[in-house]
């Protein structure tokens, strides 16, 4: 009997999207069996979930329900905001979990009860498979006093392979700050999490903004371009750009980074030329360069009464080419430091076509850079489409596959944020909606990144890794049959044999399997095991004397052994052997 399959339709089922065996729970709605409707009526517009009471959960369409009386042993998970009437609860009957809701779950599966998967988890359902290859962004200013080891362990348990650390906070050397970052990186490496420097050029740092006022970018109103939290620098100016280059090189040298992410390297703002107060670039260098070719100062295009559609079109095209030129240049700059895996985070302009003119972001122009340089092209879905459902990810992926043959280099960045649109049931993606997004995104793209780790709510972490996994797991007597297009972790207690051979990639609770079809059965405990691997496993073998693994990794990898050793792995595809004694790998 399949415990989990990866068919697309399952994304519509919030339990399956969270990687839970949806068939192992009974679902009850309204008055049924042990649930009795009283005569009292309640109009539900907002509910409060015990798991995260402060989350504002609103129903787009209010629903009038009866107040229900539940079995005495029912565990109530959510109530109506004003009357306290129960709307989601669960109990067990004959050892089988029962999940009750006052109404249907809604069209998308998460319209009314975002924490259905967590409720099923609390009732005893457990995912069969988990992924270990997610990326997440990290900004230390939200976690100033957190314990780095605690965070790293939590990230790894949530399926995070790499953290992209907001690096602009460390642009200017500072002993205390640098020490904190070094300690975070060390903690990550101790827990098999890789660390990337996340750059947000043309924002460099607050210090640089204050130090070099002459390097500030300008808006179309001629003001300094301090927009939202970003203080934009005029990278078209050679002197300013040279100084920034040396700062970036120093930043990459000072810390033990595993990679670098050049994010959002284009211009402002999502409102485009319609809002000159936020429109960039308009530095003297840009005005001069465009003025030379077009014979007009572009700032005049934004003066009242001087609109010129033809010239504005020309300026927007120039601006998109300028952004592409900058991306190419800065990719070369960061590639000067060897051994770093590189990512370019780029807003989507294929699904939302307005982004090219709004930001100067032109994916079709940037994607050919993959022909000459190896990096991950991380597609960020723009704010304008954050309210659309998870089905947008297969659609976005299809549009990008048409543009490049480097499909394995495409990734997607899911923004988990308070959305400005009128979205339901929650402003920020959480619970079933988040799992649906991650589930479909990880099916459509080789890499999924989450912005950002601090915005993922605590109740979502336990099921995050499962939502990114796609495997069909079938019971076969005392064992399992696993099919997966990607490497995957399968829940399995104790030692394991895979395809009839003793298998060393296990921490005692999960076995890590390469892509393909495998059988898993009980094995014998090996003297040395690989308890975590931050690389793609290709094969493994073990005997009493040691462990051999074959892996593939874009950048450096990490292997954690059961005897406490933590080893760095070289980029590429390699076989390594670890002896069961205290000697290192070879």
């Amino acid at each position: 009997m399949p415990l989990l399959t990866s068919a697309l339709w399952l994304a519509l089922d919030p339990l399956a999207a969270a990687g839970l065996p949806a068939g192992e729970i009974d679902r009850v709605t309204g008055a049924s069996g042990e649930v009795r409707a009283t005569r009292e009526r309640v109009t539900v517009r907002r509910i409060v979930d015990t798991r995260w009471p402060e989350a504002g959960i609103f129903w787009q369409k209010p629903v009038e329900i009866a107040r229900y009386e539940l079995p005495a042993d029912a565990r109530i998970f959510a109530r109506e905001r004003w009357t306290g009437a129960p709307v989601m609860a669960g109990w067990k009957r004959n050892g089988r979990p029962v999940l009750w809701t006052a109404t249907g779950w809604g069209e998308r599966g998460y319209d009314r009860y975002p924490y259905l998967p967590q409720a099923a988890f609390d009732l005893g359902l457990r995912p069969a498979a988990e992924a270990r290859d997610l990326w997440a962004f990290f900004d230390s200013s939200y976690r100033l006093r957190a314990d780095p080891d605690y965070l790293a362990q939590r990230w790894r348990a949530g399926g995070i392979a790499a953290i992209h650390v907001a690096a602009w906070h460390y642009d200017e050397p500072d002993a205390d700050r640098d020490e904190r970052l070094a300690s975070l990186i060390a903690a990550c490496h101790r827990n098999a999490v890789l660390v990337y420097a996340w750059l947000e050029l043309p924002h460099v740092s607050e210090e640089f903004w204050n130090l070099r006022p002459e390097c500030r970018e300008k808006t179309a109103l001629g003001a300094d371009a301090h927009l939202d939290w970003r203080r934009l620098i005029n990278l078209e100016n050679r002197a300013c750009a040279a100084e920034v280059e040396s700062r970036v090189e120093s930043l990459l040298e000072r810390f033990d980074w595993d990679g670098v992410n050049l994010a959002e390297l284009y211009f402002e703002s999502p409102e485009g030329p319609g809002n000159p107060a936020r429109f960039t670039p308009m530095s003297a260098d840009v005005r001069r360069e465009f003025g030379k070719s077009a014979g007009v100062d572009p700032i005049d295009l934004f003066a009242p009464g001087k609109a010129n559609a033809g010239l504005l079109r020309r300026f927007l095209d120039y601006r998109a080419k300028l952004a592409q030129r900058m991306q190419s240049h800065w990719l070369d700059v960061v590639a000067r430091r060897p051994g770093l895996d590189i990512a370019l985070t780029h807003v989507d302009d294929r699904f939302d076509r307005s982004m090219r003119d709004a930001l100067g972001a032109d994916a079709a122009a940037a994607l050919p850079l993959l022909d000459r340089r190896d990096f991950t092209f991380l597609i960020e879905d723009p704010a304008t489409v954050w309210h659309l459902g998870p089905q947008r990810y297969p659609e976005i992926a299809a549009r990008y596959r048409e543009l490049t043959p480097h499909h394995s280099r495409l990734g997607v960045d899911i923004n988990v944020v308070e959305r400005y649109q009128d979205v339901y049931p929650t402003k920020r993606q959480t619970g079933a909606e988040l799992f649906s997004l991650v589930h479909l995104a990880s099916q459509a793209f080789a890499r999924v990144a989450l912005y950002f780790e601090n915005s993922i709510l605590a109740p979502d972490w336990p099921l995050l890794a499962a939502s990114a996994a796609h495997a069909t797991v079938t019971r076969t007597g005392d064992g399992l049959r696993v099919e997966s297009a990607r490497d995957v972790c399968i829940r399995w207690d104790g030692a394991a044999k895979v395809n009839g051979a003793e298998w060393p990639l296990t921490d005692g609770r999960y076995v890590r399997l390469p892509a393909g079809t495998h059988t898993v059965e009980a094995g014998k405990r090996l003297p040395l095991r690989v308890i975590d691997l931050n690389a793609v496993p290709v094969g493994a073998a073990a005997d009493e004397s040691g462990v051999e693994i074959e892996y593939e990794s874009r950048g450096r990898g990490i292997v954690m052994l059961s005897d406490g050793r933590i080893e760095r792995l070289a980029a590429g595809r390699h076989k390594v052997y670890f002896a069961a004694a205290t000697t290192g790998g070879s």
Partner: protein, 543 residues
């Protein structure tokens, strides 16, 4: 005494749980430690050091918002804890609550001793300086281009964070004028007007957001309205007046517009006008009912919700909510079966009552049937133990400050009887069944006159205090009875531990173990002191 014992038991358990929390903290098991701290502090909320350490433990797990709230609670309990207040302010800033951070830094720099004063002062200057710089920047942008709603909104947000509510209100208003479909702006406008002390302006904004917005905005506006006392105001809308003269809009359109803009007096006028031309219009009935409801005229609103209830689920729900207070008749049933170890028997007291609402201001007539019964052993004195059905007619007063009066004529054993009384019930703290644990105190005080007990006046006060843990209340009870009748059973004082459970179907099970003493020994055969364990079930239903 029993109360003191109960307190000691709870605090001992609290300390044990906190000890576990500290042990886990020492081992770096932050998440588990935080859970233990949470449980321990629910039992011992006043434990200052534990709350501070809980907050620091939360910071280790990165839970800055929860830590912030714990520092706030610590500072609330001990206003001189400047370190807690500073931590609260810094965490407000870290969690994007800039206005609260700025306000708290300002308080600390004004009131605290050194070195807190200097730290707060420097932090205040940084936060305030950044806000002032942002405001100046966006003001310059608006001077150039005043037609960007997002720029107005950004400026308004910065001004609100700086407690410059006048500036914030001006720019939220400007942003809303440019982007009327963005109802969140009206909500923000209401918020800053409320902060300015402009109650009526705030109320109008919240009503507009509640009625014209999406579900989320409307719901948040309703919540805000619940916190904003308003005044009624007859206001003219120039635009509407012009259209009225031009005859461009129907009465129902005018009414809906007035209602959305919170011009409620106008809305009522137009809805009534619409009903004159179309008496069965559900929209007009429902609109008028909503308007009357917001105007606080619930009796009229109840009538119009009733007219619309068949076609509109909203009207039906509102009508049901208003029914107990405004229906012509209201049935109530309550029952209290109880077992007493002292009297070795079970008793049941109950009443079924129909109240009528003829529209009188102060009183309502009712008919009732009281029933009293026992398990058969007549160990208790007659007034406490009897078997009787007492039909009666009477009147009840309106409840003011929790006090209600009643007077009735009844017939028991074919004898006419007159009874009267006043009672008061008040509750403070965490009620039974609420999810947040906390202390509670409840008092019930009554004075009853009964003709058949030799015209006696019976006084009784019952006070309960303790701790609520969801569906359980543990605590202590004291009951004092006194009467003009000198009989022992009517004059007593008793106290002891008490526990109450909330069961399904709104049933409450209670057990009181009391030590009592009769204050009069008239007609008393045994000793003046006694023990009694009483287990009873309380059930009441009003339709």
């Amino acid at each position: 005494m029993t109360w003191a014992v109960a307190v000691v038991l709870v605090l001992t358990e609290g300390q044990r749980t906190l000890d576990e929390a500290y042990a886990m903290r020492r081992e770096g098991r932050w998440e588990e430690a935080a859970g233990r701290f949470r449980r321990g502090l629910a039992l011992w909320p006043a434990h200052r050091n534990a709350r501070i350490d809980f907050a620091y433990t939360l910071l280790k797990t990165g839970e800055a918002a929860t830590a912030r709230d714990q520092f706030l609670e610590a500072a609330r309990r001990n206003p001189d804890d400047w370190q807690a207040r500073l931590e609260y302010a810094f965490l407000c800033h870290e969690t994007q609550r800039v206005a609260e951070a700025r306000r708290t830094f300002a308080e600390v720099r004004k009131e605290a001793p050194e070195p807190y004063r200097t730290t707060a002062s420097e932090a205040f200057d940084r936060v305030d300086g950044a806000l002032a710089e942002g405001i100046a920047r966006w003001q310059a942008a608006i001077a150039e281009r005043p037609d960007s709603d997002t720029v107005h909104e950004e400026l308004a947000q910065l001004a609100e964070a700086r407690d410059d509510w006048t500036l914030a209100a001006r720019h939220y208003g400007a942003a809303w004028a440019l982007k009327p479909e963005k109802k969140g702006l009206v909500l923000a406008l209401g918020r800053v007007r409320a902060a300015q002390g402009d109650r009526e302006g705030a109320r109008r904004a919240f009503v507009a957001a509640a009625r014209g917005g999406d579900t989320r905005t409307a719901e948040l506006a309703r919540e805000a309205l619940g916190r904003t006392p308003g005044t009624e105001e007859e206001a003219e809308i120039p635009a509407l007046a012009a259209r009225r003269q031009g005859g461009g809009l129907s009465a129902i359109d005018l009414a809906d517009r007035s209602y959305r803009l919170a011009y409620l007096a106008d809305a009522e006028k137009h809805y009534r006008s619409a009903l004159e031309s179309e008496p069965k219009s559900v929209d007009a009935r429902l609109g008028l009912a909503r308007t009357l409801n917001l105007l606080g005229r619930d009796a009229d609103a109840y009538y119009f919700f009733g007219l619309a209830k068949r076609e509109s689920p909203e009207a039906r729900a509102a009508w049901r909510r208003l029914r107990p207070e405004h229906a012509f008749w209201r049935p109530t049933v309550w029952a209290l079966p109880m077992y007493s170890t002292r009297w070795h028997g079970a008793f049941v007291y109950g009443q079924a009552k129909f109240e009528f609402n003829p529209g009188w201001k102060w009183v309502r007539p009712y008919v009732s049937l009281r029933f009293v019964g026992d398990s058969g052993r007549r160990n208790a004195p007659a007034p406490l133990s009897e078997r009787a059905l007492t039909p009666a007619i009477g009147v009840m007063t309106r409840t003011v400050a929790g006090v209600t009066g009643w007077f009735e004529f009844g017939s028991q054993a074919r004898k006419l009887d007159t009874r009267a009384g006043v009672f008061q019930t008040r509750n403070w703290g965490a009620a039974l069944g609420t999810e947040t644990p906390g202390a509670f105190f409840s008092t019930t005080n009554e004075a009853n006159y009964a003709q058949r007990f030799a015209n006696a006046l019976l006084l009784r006060t019952e006070n309960r205090a303790g701790w609520t843990l969801g569906r359980v209340q543990i605590g202590a009870v004291t009951i004092l009875g006194a009467s003009t009748l000198r009989d022992y059973w009517a004059n007593f004082a008793e106290a002891g531990p008490s526990v109450r459970f909330r069961l399904p179907f709104r049933v409450t099970l209670s057990a009181d173990a009391v030590r009592g003493r009769h204050l009069s020994t008239q007609n008393l055969a045994g000793r003046a002191s006694y023990y009694d364990l009483r287990i009873g079930i309380w059930y009441a239903l009003t339709y």
